[in-house]
Structure formats: structure tokens, C-alpha cells
Amino acid sequence: MLNPRNTLILVAAALLTACGGGGPNPPGTVGNNAPNKEKPSGDATAEQVAEEVRAGLDCPADIDTPDRPPNSPVNDVVGVRPGLTYDEAQNVVLCTHDLLVASPPSTSGFNIKTYGATIRQGFSARFAEPRVNKSSRDYMREMNEDFMARSGNAVREDMKPGQSKWYVSTMGVPGEERVIAVAREEWFAEGRNPTMQSVADALVKKYGPPTRRQENPTVIVLAWIYDPQGRFVPETSPNAMRCTAMSSPDGGTSFSPDCGLVIGAQVRPVQDNPALAKFMQVGVADQSVGYELIVQTEQSLESGEMKRRADEVKNAAQNADAPKL
């Protein structure tokens, strides 16, 4: 008797180095489709940097992708949802705040064979940072400060109150990439922090009663799970624990063909008052659709590669030089 395994799960492993957002590459125009233009130089405020990068952006965003079917579960994060095209998603994200700028992913993306094709596998977006021209002495001082901070296990947050950041994951053959997952993190402005409970209530109001809800003094974690047929998976279902919900823009996600829409959320409190929310994260992934799109994309590129190889062999049979023996 054969023993098949439930094996085809696309696991997304987060690289810790990808966390922290700021990284060595300052946010700028998404690189894969950005026109080549001269890089601005000179000191600039965050507003000026955002204005330079967002030149030509139209808000509100034009969305041609049809809305989700009626009676299907809510599947968006501030308007960004699985199924949108890469450009639509980027437009919606950037239109959510005047200071947001998009960047290409700093990691290598899905580990699929692309045979040389360039696939836009997603983008991140975060608040623009002021551009400051630094001397070598400034860099050395910063490196020293970073070293000292690491040595002392200092907590370095990459977000400030009032800011938000996104990661949108896309997949498809070049030019036809569509959103398969989206995650957003929002830090509440200082002095205007909502209560933990009110944030959780707002999430439940938008997405409905969750499949899982875990609360402790340091976090509220919520998850909404649907199966690939679009049916809600309640907490009592044997399948309730089979789907991984991710909410962090810096974290990983997984795409299982056994799971449908999966929504994850986390709310974390401010340090000196656990009743008030410091920030929240919300992530949405249409796992089975995303999985199919990843597989289809790889197979499509694979077919093209097989055809290329066959054509080359055919040509070689007609035109290639014979070896001298």
C-alpha cells in the first residue's frame, strides 16, 4: 500500500536579515518597472524624498480587477487583496499615505526555477526617510553605535509611532504578476493609542468571528481560516490547525493547497500600559490560489525552457559543426 504524503507546501522562511526594514537600501521607487532616471542627490526631507519618488502617482488607484464575489469572505488589507495586479496593488498601497514609498524585495523571493525570466515577486512599502549626505566619519560613528547597541542587546525598532509598512507578495509570468499575499503593520501615533480590545474588536468587525483567538498580556493573536472551497474553518474543525496564518510584513508565510483564504492579525501593547495598543499587524494570503499560481508560473516557464532546448537540439542537428576525429 502506497503512503502518499501531504507534501506540497510552499514554505516561506523569513530571513532575519530582512527584518528591520531600513536595511542598507533606502526605500525608493520599485526597481523592477521603474524608469531609469538619475538618482537624486543632496539632503532632503522625508516629504521631499517621497515627492520625488511618487511623482506621477494617481490617487485614488484605478482598479480594473473585479471585486471579490458577493458573499465571499472579506479578503483585503486597506483595499489590497489577493488577485490584484502588481501595479494595482502598488498604486493602492502608495495611496494609503503620502509618505509611503515602495521598494523591490531585498530577498531572493520564491525559490523557483525561472530560467532567466524576471518575475516581480512583490514589493515592500514604508515611510520615506530623510536623505542625508554622510561623510565617512558619520558612517564610522553609526557603525560604532550599532555595534555598541548590539553588544548591549539594545532594542532597535525600525518603525516610529504613526508609521506603517507593507509587504505585498506577487506571482505570475512576467508582466502578469498578481497579488497572492499582503501584510501590513501600523504603529499607532503616540498619545493616540487605541485600546487593545478596541483594535481586536475592529478586526472582528471587519473579518468576522475568528477561527483562533489567543490573548495574553503581551499580544492578541487572531486567525481566520477558510478552506479551498471557501468554507469557514471553525475552531472545532480538525483542519483548524493545519493552516498557518502570518501577519508580519517581515515574517514568512506558507502556501498550502489545502488552505484557502487565511488571515492573521496581531496586536501588541505599549510597554507601560498593556491595555493600550502599540501596533498591529494584519496579513492576508489566499494560499491555495497562491500555490496554484506559483506552480503554474514555474510550469509555464519550464515549458518555455523545454521548448527552447528542443529547438536548439533541432537546430544543432541541422547546422552544428561535426567534430574532427
Binding site: 503512503n3 507534501t7 522562511a13 530577498t107 531572493s108 483542519n239 517581515d250
Partner: protein, 248 residues
């Protein structure tokens, strides 16, 4: 979610343990004696397990009408090449066969010839194959009282059965897995099933699979099949638990 994404296709070939000998675990019409109280259930077509329901006709893939019963690795790889219209790497594989490897130098040509003829005969044998009967560990879920169903995880969208031979890797995937994995059992009968099963690992299934598509890729590929029908059996007694028939 800014990540390095890794596709891990963790195929545990060791778990497959190789297919059983022909005939073992093949789908059989249950007798009244071996199916004391099969759960009434429905897939896309409801049928009581002991009703002797006729097997639905599988739609022929490219007019293929032949059927394989628990094929071995080599047969499935040859079937893949035949379906994909690609020449199997017979010549390249001859020296990997243990009989050729272990043969004395003077006997190697004859051993190669023997293996080649076997593979060519195997290739000829799969020329008309359009359906496969396969016995699998069902990997049954707990009962879902919300939707009144079990999930047969062996047939889930993430499930696949892998075959390795001739330096190639061929995976069989289930095209209608979303519906095939659902075994609906009325709540009133579910407890009886649970009591009989004991452990989820104690359930096997005999499935009739219709070939629907083939995808060629370097060093192997995928065969997509549709589950036409399957029977679930409790392993210790061999008793029939239920039969699911799906729309062809």
C-alpha cells in the same frame, strides 16, 4: 512577508514503501460479510458501500482505455514518458540496473539486452493506459461535525504519490482533490465509523484514478489524475467503511 521563499517539496519516498504486488489491496466489490455497517456517504454521487454500485465510466484520456493495477515505479515512469510523448531514457538507464551492474564483464551485453527488452515491453504495455487503480494509506482526519465529513488526506490537494525509476521522478497528483478528499458521513453514523477505525492510520483506500493530464519537466514530471471512486477500509479487519464516487 519580505522573505526568501523556499519551496520544500518533502517527498518521503521511504514512506511510500513501494507499491504492493499486483492484486494486493486492489479495489474489490465488498461482500455483505466484510461490510457490516458501512457508513452511508456521498461524494458527488452517493452510494452505499454495500450496494454494489457500478463503477462510473472514467473519461478516456486521449482515447486510452487500459487500466493499471498498483503499478510499480518503472511502469509509472514509462507511463509518464508515453503520456508526454517523450522517448524514455532506456539506453541511458541500462547500466544502472543492478543485474547489469552485478554481471560479469562478459555477461554485461546479454544483461543489457535483457533489461532493454524488459523496458521496451513495459513501454509497450502502457501504450493504452488511461486509468490506474491504486491502494493508498487514507490518512483519515478526525470527524468534522460542522460539515459532517471526514477529510481523506491521502487525496488532498497537497498530496502526491511519487515514483522514481530510470533516473526520473514522476509525481501523481489529484486534479479533483478538493472534492475527492471529502468523505461525507451523517452525524448519526460518524461515531460508529470512529469506533471502528480507532486510529486514522488504520484506514486504507483503494482508488480508481483517471488520467487527466501530464506535465513534462526536466528529469521527470507530473501526471494529474482525477479520482473517479474510492473505497475506504479498516486495515485490521479489512471491513469496508465507505465508498465515494465522484463525477467523472
Amino acid at each position: 512577508m519580505r522573505t526568501a521563499f523556499v519551496i520544500s517539496v518533502l517527498v518521503l519516498a521511504a514512506g511510500c514503501g513501494g507499491p504492493p504486488p499486483a492484486g494486493e489491496g486492489a479495489a474489490q466489490a465488498p461482500s455483505a460479510a466484510e461490510s457490516p455497517q458501512p457508513a452511508a456517504q456521498s461524494g458527488q454521487t452517493t452510494s452505499a458501500a454495500n450496494a454494489g454500485a457500478a463503477t462510473p465510466a472514467a473519461p478516456a484520456f486521449r482515447g486510452r482505455t487500459g487500466e493499471l493495477l498498483n503499478p510499480d515505479n518503472t511502469t509509472m515512469v514509462l507511463l509518464y514518458f508515453d503520456l508526454a510523448g517523450l522517448p524514455p531514457p532506456i539506453d541511458q538507464s541500462l547500466d544502472d540496473d543492478m543485474r547489469v551492474r552485478m554481471a560479469r564483464a562478459t555477461d554485461k551485453p546479454a544483461a543489457r539486452d535483457l533489461v532493454r527488452k524488459e523496458l521496451e515491453a513495459g513501454l509497450a504495455g502502457v501504450r493504452n493506459i488511461g486509468a490506474i487503480r491504486m491502494s493508498l494509506a487514507a490518512n483519515l482526519s478526525e470527524y468534522d461535525s460542522t460539515y459532517n465529513e471526514f477529510t481523506v488526506r491521502a487525496l488532498s490537494p497537497s498530496s502526491m504519490v511519487e515514483f522514481k525509476a530510470l533516473g526520473q521522478k514522476v509525481a501523481v497528483k489529484f486534479g479533483n482533490a478538493r472534492t475527492a478528499q471529502v468523505w461525507r458521513v451523517p452525524a448519526a453514523e460518524a461515531q460508529a465509523v470512529v469506533d471502528r477505525v480507532g486510529f486514522a492510520s488504520d484506514v486504507s483506500l483503494d482508488a480508481l484514478l483517471a488520467i487527466r493530464d501530464v506535465h513534462a519537466a526536466p528529469e521527470g514530471g507530473n501526471i494529474t489524475v482525477n479520482v473517479i471512486e474510492y473505497e475506504l477500509r479498516e486495515n485490521r479487519s479489512g471491513n469496508l467503511l465507505g465508498r465515494v464516487q465522484l463525477a467523472p
